[in-house]
Symmetry: C2
Subunit: 238 residues, 2 copies
């Protein structure tokens, strides 16, 4: 079967590489992932991928675009729990009949695909578990940011985190990446107002630590910034 042979020899979709790098996958696993990625689905910007409290039917992988887990308070205050970037999973629950713990909204046009069931392969099951652990580690980082960092530290720490995560799928290089979200959205993730986020960005720009324009971000002094905000690498297993 020519198709099979071609599929096995061809590379995985960039968004699948992060997952694939976590474990040793055999050919049938890689095949299953490739077939999954081939059936992509698109969601419009501002569309909802998951709704809080509703059942989760499948495990999705983000192939392209940015999304966010969002919670809205009664009076309209909005908190972004975390960002979901290409290579990240959505609805990655390991228990039966899970309910979405938060709404997931597309921040840009999004393409996703359904992933193979965990029961089909121990390696995939392990990869899903590692992905969940990684996501949890980023939730902890978010808690520390919101609880104990100043506004400018929050902004810089988030920009570093986004860079690190985008590097895994080749979407960031040399401290440079596409930044498709508004300052208002950043503010909702950082527990700040957009006005203040803007001022903090300006400050970092004037300190020559940051450059940005029209949907792109450049961290000019990565090492310095990492040191200043005390950012540690995220590792979830030996």
């Amino acid at each position: 079967m020519t198709v099979t042979a071609i599929s096995i020899s061809s590379d995985l979709h960039p968004a699948l590489r992060r997952l694939a790098s976590m474990v040793d996958l055999d050919d049938s696993d890689r095949m299953a992932l490739r077939n999954a990625a081939a059936r992509e689905r698109t969601i419009k910007a501002r569309g909802e991928v998951l709704q809080e409290g509703k059942p989760i039917r499948e495990r999705l992988l983000v192939l392209s675009g940015w999304a966010a887990r969002v919670r809205i308070l009664q009076d309209g205050r909005r908190q972004i729990i975390n960002f979901t970037l290409p290579g990240d999973l959505i609805g990655n629950c390991s228990h039966a009949n899970p309910l979405a713990s938060s709404t997931i909204a597309a921040l840009t046009p999004l393409t996703v695909c359904a992933l193979p069931d965990a029961a089909t392969s121990p390696a995939l099951c392990e990869a899903y578990a590692m992905s969940a652990a990684t996501e949890e580690a980023y939730l902890l980082a978010q808690i520390v940011r919101l609880g104990r960092m100043t506004a400018s530290e929050r902004v810089e720490d988030l920009l570093l985190e986004l860079m690190e995560r985008l590097e895994l799928t080749g979407l960031a290089r040399n401290g440079h990446y596409a930044m498709p979200i508004t300052q208002e959205t950043m503010a909702d993730a950082l527990g700040l107002t957009s006005v203040h986020v803007n001022r903090m960005l300006q400050r970092s720009k004037q300190a020559k630590r940051l450059r940005w324009a029209r949907g792109t971000m450049e961290i000019a002094a990565v090492a310095e910034m990492r040191r200043d905000v005390g950012r540690m690498p995220v590792r979830v297993s030996q």
Copy 2:
């Protein structure tokens, strides 16, 4: 075997009830849990149950006492990620060779026990997964608290959360529970200073919403407080 018969008919340790209520356990599962709980281990207040970055060797259950996941910044700022109460798990990872994502420190004298391996029973595996999902739901709540709530809302929301969680093991009743932590510790969880936590507690006391003294807490107006802070019930599966 008399011992077996007695064990099966006797009740589970209160701290095990939360776990047991999540799934249907058969007699051998219940037996395994009872045996686990019988081998308890104690940790002194201020002792560390887990250290950030070190391998996790086993899955623990807290039988009594309070602990906290803690992260310390370079300059000494401390953030408590979440509280670990009786019935909660420690080191509940589903992937291989996990590393601790944060230090867990005992806030009071603590008793814990090692839990049976997930591979021994699908029901236990499911219970562990549900416990992990529940813990994640509380991390989301913590993020919203820190990101988008005012100081007084943070304090009241945390006190409601602690009440709800303690109710599951019978440690809270009628809005009344033992509160073994200092205002300084609460401040480190809430991203505030202890001075300000004190002022917020005083305010709630004067509004007749709260009463507390010498290590006990009483929420005088649960329904009112829940409404005001917009607190929703935590559900992770259908």
